[in-house]
C-alpha cells in the first residue's frame, strides 16, 4: 500500500466509490441479461411444445 499522506481519505474514497459503482453497473447488467434470457427461453420453449 502506497503512503497516501494527508490525502489518504480523499484518494481511498474516490477509488472505493468508483470501483463499487462500476461493479454495480456490471452486476446489474448481468442480472438483467440473465432474467431476460431465461424468460425468452421459457416463452420459446412453450411455443415449440406440441399442443
Amino acid at each position: 500500500m502506497p503512503d497516501l499522506g494527508r490525502y489518504a481519505t480523499e484518494v481511498l474514497t474516490a477509488y472505493g466509490v468508483s470501483i463499487v459503482a462500476l461493479a454495480a453497473l456490471v452486476w446489474l447488467s448481468v442480472r438483467q441479461a440473465r432474467r431476460v434470457r431465461r424468460r425468452l427461453e421459457d416463452v420459446e420453449a412453450r411455443r415449440r411444445a406440441p399442443g
Binding site: 497516501l4 480523499e10 453497473l25
Partner: protein, 243 residues
Amino acid sequence: MSSLWEYANPRKFMATSGALLPWVSGLAVLCLVGGLFWGFFLTPDDFRQGSTVKIIYLHVPAAIMAINVWLMMLVASLIWLIRRHHVSALAAKAAAPVGAVFTAIALFTGAVWGQPMWGTWWEWDPRLTSFLILFLFYLGYIAMWEAVENPDAAADLTTVLCLVGSVFAVISRYALLFWNQGLHQGASLSMDAEQNVADVFWYPLVTCIAGFFLLFLALVLYRTRTEIRARRLRALLAQERTA
C-alpha cells in the same frame, strides 16, 4: 466487402457481438485493472497535488467517456431517426446507464479532488455546471425510455432529448474555451507536449482511458444483446395475447 448496415440486422448483430464480447471484456479488465494498479501503486505523488493526483486515473477517463458516450448515443439515435434501424435505437438505450455512471464518477471524483485542492467540493463553474446538467440529461433520457410504453415512440422522443442534450455534451468539453473562466483547469491530455502531464502519469492514464473505453464497448454490446432479446420477448408475448 460487407456493409456496416448489415449489423442493423439483429441476427447478424447477435452473432458478431457474441464472438467479440469475450475478447473485448477480457481486454477491458486487463486495461482497467492494469491501469488502475499502475496509477495507484506505481506512480509518485505530484509535487503540488500530493497523492490526490492518483484520482486523475478515474476522473479523466470517466469524464472523457461521459461526453463521448452521449455523442455515441446521438449518432445511434440519428441512425434510428433517419433509417429506422431498431438495433441502433436499442444501442443508444443500452449506452445511457453506462454514460450516467461514468458522469456520476466524474462528478464525484472531481468533488473529492476539489475539496483539498480548491478548498470547495463544488463551484458553479462553467465546466462543472454543464457536466451536472449532462448528468441530469442522462437521468431524463433513461426515465423517458421507461415512461413511454410504445418502444418506437420512446425511441423518437429520446432522440429529440439526445439532440438537445448534445449541446451540453459539447459545452462540457469546450466550456473552458468558451468562457475562459472558472476553477477547472485545462485538459490533462493534449497533442501539445508542453501542456501534457508528465510521462510518469501519462502512460497509466492512457491505459485507464483505454480500459474505460473497452469497458463501455463491452457493456454496450452486452446490454444491446439484452435489449434485442427483450424486444423479441415483448413481440412473442404480444403474439400470444392476440392469438
